[in-house]
């Protein structure tokens, strides 16, 4: 079994900004260990001579010409914003200052 303990899950949850209860942390620690083990079996199937695959389709160099396309108006850009001011997104204070 892969060693995924409760602290690992709590750390990941914090990095991913996911709020998790004590029970969820316990349950996920067990489930993630199984998932990691399952993925590991793929690594075992590939030999050392098989390069890591980042994409399933052997496609490269999908490029776009450097030509200006469509843009939004400020109003459109902000249409989904919870809050805005002066045509800009308004976000809460960033530093968590006491």
């Amino acid at each position: 079994m892969a060693a995924i303990n409760r602290d690992d899950v709590a750390h990941l949850a914090r990095l991913a900004h996911i709020e998790m209860s004590a029970e969820e942390l316990d349950r996920m620690a067990g489930e993630l260990a199984v998932i990691v083990d399952s993925v590991k079996s793929v690594s075992e199937a590939a030999g050392a001579d098989v390069p890591a695959t980042s994409h399933p389709i052997p496609l490269t160099n999908v490029f776009r010409d450097d030509v200006v396309g469509h843009t939004f108006t400020a109003e459109q850009s902000l249409s989904g914003a919870p809050d805005s001011l002066d045509n800009r997104f308004k976000v809460p204070a960033i530093l968590d200052e006491a």
Binding site: D66, F72, R88, F89, I94
Partner: protein, 502 residues
């Protein structure tokens, strides 16, 4: 904000050996963003140079800008790097309001360019090689404006405003290997390195390279170790160092601060520091911790970039002459001494002199006018010499008039001022002011007679062989002709009159 203790730079250098490292971000000047077709333009109305990709709306797909790839390869080549046969993009995950997707699309394990170097020439001509670890492609973040706090700082702000116009602008991040052996020249090297990178990307035409607009931004890493120790000390990373002068000052300050920390027997904290131009100090940012656990993984929405050797060679063939090589060539062509040439470079008139010579002036005439006349006037006007408004053709015309004996040097500088005052071309000003060297010997001989009669003792001295006394007579003639005589011709005539060999 508490003030950190510092040692004097000299004492810090006596006790410790600095090791540097730089991450320089270069904004490319493509027409569109790295992964979207929204325009890459500085200074427009907030949140108007964006589309769904830049705002990170759900379900959108990025598409790579071919020109940005080509610019990145050119930068890699200009930095003497190897170009990756194949490379991928990766997601760097973190939560910050300037990054709407909650990840930055960057490169991780396989940068497009790696293992290069740059030879940096310091002010006295010493050449220092800086090894380049990698240059990778990524996208810029949006711009935050902190409101409610003091002086727009994040500390004490009530809230922040975000403009995503800059979001997705193509960036190339150039990372050096640790730079050892700079010693007390570390601050100077830091400045010279960033200046060289800026010059290269500007010369390549791939970036506007304006530091005041953030086109070139530097994070400076500094660590100290006792002399003779191989292992590096703990480093700090100073962000927001966005002028050449600030790079030099920030490195110097961090060396002095680290030295004081170490001197007190404390360990340096590995952390981000923020540079403050007003106080020329740094303050602590967040410590490096698991907040920097970015969990990179390959970007599933972008396929690998394969740079065929043919493509790389095609791009290499388009590279302009490197700035350092160009300077060497120009110095040899123009025949300037090391010192003369360095003064020209430092005065920022290299391009102007090159253009003036191309317009027909000799190398020495071009230097005389730019260094002797224009640089000083530009300084008084507080503009760059090239911005003063002197066209190369103006200098060629003035120099020719002097050569032809139509006007003398003194008149020529007055005519230059006339040109700058918008009075017209040199020929028009000479005409309008009635300037002309008095070349008819008649009036000159009259003036010479008068001058000799006024100073008979001087005339006697000259007759007696003291030719150096002639200056007083020449001066009298020049005064009488209001500076319109050719001083050389006056001298000849006086000697002939007195029957003395010159």
């Amino acid at each position: 904000m508490s003030t950190d203790a510092t040692l004097s730079f000299e004492e810090a250098m006596e006790k410790y050996d600095p090791v540097l490292g730089f991450e320089v971000h270069v904004e490319l000047n493509t027409k569109t963003k790295m992964f979207s077709s929204a325009p890459n333009v500085f200074g427009d109305e907030p949140n108007t140079n964006v589309n769904e990709v830049d705002l990170g709306l759900p379900g959108v797909l990025p598409v790579v800008n071919r020109t940005a790839i080509e610019s990145s390869i050119k930068i890699g080549l200009a930095l003497n790097c190897s170009i990756a046969e194949s490379c991928t993009f990766a997601r760097k995950q973190y939560f910050y309001p300037d990054t709407p997707k909650n990840f930055q699309t960057s490169q991780y394990e396989d940068p497009i360019a790696y293992d290069g170097y740059l030879d940096i020439e310091l002010a006295d001509g010493t050449v220092f090689r800086v090894e380049i670890e990698r240059a990778h492609m990524e996208e810029d973040a949006g711009k935050l404006t902190h409101m409610g706090g003091a002086a727009g700082r994040i500390q004490g702000a009530d809230f922040s405003l975000v403009d995503y116009n800059r979001s997705g602008v193509p960036l190339v991040e150039i990372v050096t290997k640790p730079i050892e052996g700079a010693g007390s020249r570390a601050p100077e090297l830091a400045k010279a390195y960033v200046a060289a990178v800026r010059e290269i990307v500007k010369n390549l035409g791939v970036s506007d390279a304006r530091m005041e607009r953030g086109n070139v931004r530097c994070d400076a890493n500094v660590s100290l170790r006792p002399h003779g120790r191989e292992r590096f000390g703990i480093r700090s990373e100073t962000k927001n160092v966005n002028s050449l002068r600030a790079v030099e000052h920030a490195v110097r300050y961090e060396i002095q601060r680290h030295a004081a920390v170490l001197d007190n027997g404390n360990p340096v904290i590995q952390e981000t520091r923020h540079w403050h131009e007003d106080t020329r100090t740094t303050t602590s940012g967040r410590p490096k911790s698991d907040a920097d656990d970015y969990r990179y993984f390959p970007e599933p929405d972008l396929v690998p970039v394969v740079a065929s050797r043919e493509w790389v060679e095609e791009l290499r063939a388009t590279l302009p002459e490197p700035p350092a090589a160009r300077r060497k060539r120009l110095q040899a062509d123009w025949g300037y001494s090391e010192l003369e040439f360095r003064d020209v470079v430092n005065a920022g008139v290299l391009d102007e002199i090159e253009e003036t010579i191309a317009a027909g002036a000799s190398a020495s005439v071009a230097r005389k006018w730019w260094m002797g006349e224009i640089v000083g006037r530009a300084k008084n006007a507080d503009v760059d010499p090239g911005q003063l408004g002197v066209a190369p053709a103006t200098i060629v015309e003035l120099a020719k008039m002097v050569d032809d004996g139509k006007i003398n040097n003194k008149m020529a500088t007055a005519v230059l001022d006339g040109v700058l005052a918008g009075e017209g071309t040199p020929a028009e000003i000479v005409e309008a002011r009635g300037l002309a060297v008095v070349s008819d010997d008649g009036p000159l001989l009259e003036a010479i007679d008068a001058a000799l009669a006024a100073q008979p003792d001087v005339a006697e001295k000259i007759r007696g062989g003291k030719v150096q006394a002639i200056g007083a007579i020449v001066g009298g003639v020049m005064k009488a002709t209001r500076g319109q005589a050719d001083a050389g011709r006056v001298r000849e005539l006086i000697l002939a009159k007195l029957g003395v060999e010159g």
